[in-house]
Symmetry: C2
Subunit: 377 residues, 2 copies
Amino acid sequence: MATTVGVIGGGQLARMMIPPAVELGVTIKVLEETPGMSAELAATGVGDYRDLETVVAFAKTVDVITFDHEHVPQHVLRALVDAGVPVHPGPDALLYAQDKLLMRQKITELGLPSPDWAAIENADELGAFLDAHGGRAVVKTARGGYDGKGVRIVDDRNGADDWFTALAEDGRGGALIVEELVDFVRELAQQVARRPSGQIVAYPVVETVQKGGICAEVIAPAPNAGSAIAQAARDIAVRVAEGVGVTGMLAVELFETRDGRVLVNELAMRPHNSGHWTIDGAVTSQFEQHLRAVLDLPLGETRPREAWTVMINILGGPAGASLQSRYAEAFAAHPAAKLHGYGKESRPGRKVGHVTVAGSELDSVLADARAAAALFD
Amino acid sequence: MATTVGVIGGGQLARMMIPPAVELGVTIKVLEETPGMSAELAATGVGDYRDLETVVAFAKTVDVITFDHEHVPQHVLRALVDAGVPVHPGPDALLYAQDKLLMRQKITELGLPSPDWAAIENADELGAFLDAHGGRAVVKTARGGYDGKGVRIVDDRNGADDWFTALAEDGRGGALIVEELVDFVRELAQQVARRPSGQIVAYPVVETVQKGGICAEVIAPAPNAGSAIAQAARDIAVRVAEGVGVTGMLAVELFETRDGRVLVNELAMRPHNSGHWTIDGAVTSQFEQHLRAVLDLPLGETRPREAWTVMINILGGPAGASLQSRYAEAFAAHPAAKLHGYGKESRPGRKVGHVTVAGSELDSVLADARAAAALFD
């Protein structure tokens, strides 16, 4: 079997692949963007993931390529594939995580439920969509958005003019996406892993709470998710994984509507914030699962180890201080809390770590996790 | 707080400290004996742990020193302490893990239960002990033994003559230890962690099965260990930890006798094979706990995540093949098994990895773990 996994990108997702790589006894090498990033310990190269030469040179040192993020350009990915490098997920799949317009088209083509949506190229088209949807809608750029960037709520036909202008100036043209503002009860996320040879396993659907477009809190499994909701979420993720040929981890972010439907919101083809709970809470963490999948090894059990697991992001971290400056206080008060630090400097709104607590009673697990995470504000 | 832990020794115990160091966001640096050892990923130095200059130079790059093994000589340890380096466990404690004769004296002095034992300096003394204990006994060298080395069952007064000769030739003289052959029901192990500032936490007592003097299988918690046995094991370990001033993890290997007593067999002042189950099975693994303890951080919860956890060592590994050559088969048949590979070459009897399975029914957990581990023979 292939035993050296190369990860493009040195962020916390690459970092969190290091522990399971050490445990499995497989070698992990990271191409980080700049020296001293989150995944520094496993970094064997520094360079720009958009530069073909840099990426090809890195790929020669590993057996399979995977990713910390979805930003590696298609021409670089395709050159790797043409050179015979196993790339997971491959460019044909990653396309749908890189371009939200293509994603919406594909989801619709697969017969899966989306919010009402349209590709729009000007203010008139936006205006028409607004008129048909109560005067408010979500506008997204097709590319370059994440953690709430490139997403905007609009109630004016001219509310996306700056983006239209930027698209026109870009020369490549293209469209924005407009989507109905879903009146959702809550947000869910469904993760599955898929091997190149086709095996798929699904994690329990989880509830996610977003703050300012960034994942803040995850409850696993999603409370009060009846079998119909859980089954619908799972079916959607499996059909997406198979429909676009995802290899590795896939996260499907979903809206649960008041009338009990689930609609596809976003896709991520890598370990995802909504799955960090699995590190401490599931038999096989999403990071180990991703490594297994990209190495085309049989996938691990996804069962939660305890009844409830809650994960809370540390956003920003303590002002002017390190995460570590709070360890003594936090560990003393919360011995069951699992603290994960990403080795990143604190900065307002930045994901610098997370806290996980698992146990048998949701109320106490949630209270413990929230109180522990609050010590890192 | 101190945030860089230096580990002397590059074996699998150092390796297994890497994942929790990454998770906690603390830096780990390893001084390995030769290049390419098990903990290679975190190695920042290569050298002989018996060489003062090498160790002092390494210590200058870290905030606190701890160990993969107990073999660093006392004069090196004391020089570090004299130089102001925090060393955990410190030389005064480590002495009792390095010298079994001092350990037996100390355990007896603390009023804790040992098998009958004596320090012996010649065949006459051995003969007298054998006569008083049914003609058979265990002889041990005070120093240098581990995994069954330096331990011998003897039924002849001349059965340790070679060791007496070696001690005499060594010039430093000294004694061997002879111990009664305990007619035990089973072996247990009790782990505790202790911080420099005194906090102690205890793990559940576990049952260990030895094969050829090497730990082969661990069941956590020990089945049918009534509260009296569990309490006795815990009390002994706490009293040892306090009595010798251990910092970090302490494992006390115990015999459970037919009449329901527990006797101290061996001590280890570091993460221990009997605690590998905690990586997948406890809220806080022994490796994270060891890091917390040596950094003098509040200790984590020791509660098992599931009712039963079984750990089985992979001894030797597949003849002429890598562990990885069996992953596909093992993972397909045992999706709940957690495989830990140590990055070491297979060699008969060598610990090259372990398998852990956790769940609610001991019989099925045990069967799953054994069957998974058997695929790596």
